[in-house]
């Protein structure tokens, strides 16, 4: 019995077009995006109708979590070394070249300066642990936060402050931070919020 031959269709599809699309998209994503800075804690920011965008570069983010722990992060890697060095000097701690290099890789941190050396000696994976997220002291007796901001400002005068706080943060913490900023004459800053629809429109 003669077999009926089913014509075999080739399963090969021309991939060139698909490849083009994939790389086009890839290029698009590479050019339009900036990396998400890793944050030691997750905060849920409140929403507002404000559509004001912050400048692209030279941002100092002040992250405040629910319990009122304060973290700071500089976006410019080159500035980080210098800032840590000068903050260290203010507390008469001298950091080695290796420690400075280590620090320049960290996006955001909240460690009291006296524990900084121990923190930098940790491995990268261990830094994210709960114990390392102590927060920078902001109380009036030991206001390291103030020193950090002041030194950062000295290193980069174009710096823009952005406060990113959790919705549930008690106002007291915010007030302390704001009062500190006023004290060192940082009168303009941005509050990071998520977008909400303007009821007037």
């Amino acid at each position: 019995m003669p077999k009926v031959k089913v014509p075999r269709k080739t399963t090969n599809v021309d991939m060139t077009a698909m490849c083009d699309v994939a790389f086009l998209l890839l290029t698009f994503f590479m050019l339009t995006s900036n990396f998400v800075a890793k944050e030691p804690i997750v905060v849920a920011v409140p929403s507002s109708i404000s559509e004001f965008k912050i400048q692209e570069r030279d941002i100092l983010t002040v992250l405040i979590d629910k319990e009122g722990k304060v973290f700071i992060g500089l976006d410019a890697q080159n500035d980080r070394r210098e800032v840590l060095d000068s903050v260290g000097k203010a507390y008469s701690i001298s950091f080695t070249e290796k420690e400075l290099n280590e620090y320049s890789k960290i996006g955001m941190m909240g460690v009291p300066i006296e524990r900084m050396q121990a923190f930098l000696a940790l491995k990268q994976e261990e830094r994210d642990s709960k114990e390392s997220a102590l927060g920078i002291p902001t109380d009036s007796l030991n206001n390291q936060f103030k020193v950090w901001i002041r030194k950062a400002r000295k290193v980069n005068s174009n710096l823009r402050l952005a406060i990113k706080a959790d919705s549930q943060t008690p106002y007291k913490v915010i007030k302390d931070v704001m009062a500190t900023l006023v004290e060192i004459k940082e009168n303009r800053y941005n509050l990071i919020t998520s977008l909400e629809k303007d009821p007037n429109q």
């Binding site: 790389f23 994503f29 590479m30 109708i49 919705s167 943060t169 006023v182 800053y189 909400e196 009821p199």
Partner: protein
């Protein structure tokens, strides 16, 4: 694909140089492309966050402001309490009588209505301005200057925001947001006084 070229090669009698297929299988390359796309999509943030810009006067400037106090008819104070409570009163309590606190909330029927009624003239002007802008009667620059002009007009209300320590950050942002929505150009975040706190506590217990 490759077979086609082979067939062609057999046709010619001349010993042709063996033709290499010019087509390459691109599937792995596509795979790689999409893998990288996925990576970039997951690790990047496309949009910059929205922010609210605030400028706080420095300490010496505040004292100066206190000297030229606001007129009682324009002044309004908003008190933010714990558990999302919100109180407000008009005037600056200069006539000796303690101000009467009125309880409201953060909803659009609450404090927003109050602010909008208080700021009615400015709201109307701004609305007109926005309409003009939509009709292309005013350009972007004009719009901005006139908007800030209206907002800072002499007769517009001046709002003092006093947040208690046990209110939260969301409350503050909400109120600042309301200031933007209701086009109030002159407002300040002021430290809460013990009198305000006592007043707030009294009103809360009275309501219960």
């Amino acid at each position: 694909m490759a077979e086609m070229q082979e067939k062609e090669g057999k046709k010619g009698k001349k010993q042709k140089q063996k033709k290499h297929p010019t087509r390459v299988d691109l599937t792995p390359m596509v795979d790689l492309g999409f893998l990288l796309i996925t990576f970039f999509m997951l690790t990047t943030s496309m949009l910059k966050p929205q922010t609210m810009e605030i400028s706080v006067p420095s300490k010496d400037k505040v004292q100066e402001d206190e000297v030229n106090k606001v007129k009682a008819s324009q002044a309004m104070t908003i008190l933010l309490g714990k558990d999302n409570t919100l109180y407000y009163f008009f005037g600056n309590g200069e006539n000796g009588l303690p101000p009467v606190l009125i309880n409201t909330d953060y909803s659009s029927e609450g404090v927003r209505t109050v602010l909008m009624t208080k700021n009615y003239d400015v709201m109307k002007q701004v609305e007109q301005l926005k309409k003009d802008k939509a009709d292309k009667k005013v350009n972007e620059e004009d719009y901005k200057t006139r908007l800030s002009e209206y907002r800072a007009s002499k007769n517009a209300p001046v709002v003092m925001i006093k947040a208690a320590d046990d209110s939260n950050y969301k409350n503050l942002v909400d109120i600042l947001d309301e200031m933007n929505i209701c086009n109030i150009g002159r407002y300040a975040i002021v430290d809460i006084t013990p009198e305000d706190l006592a007043l707030m506590a009294k009103t809360t217990t009275a309501a219960k």
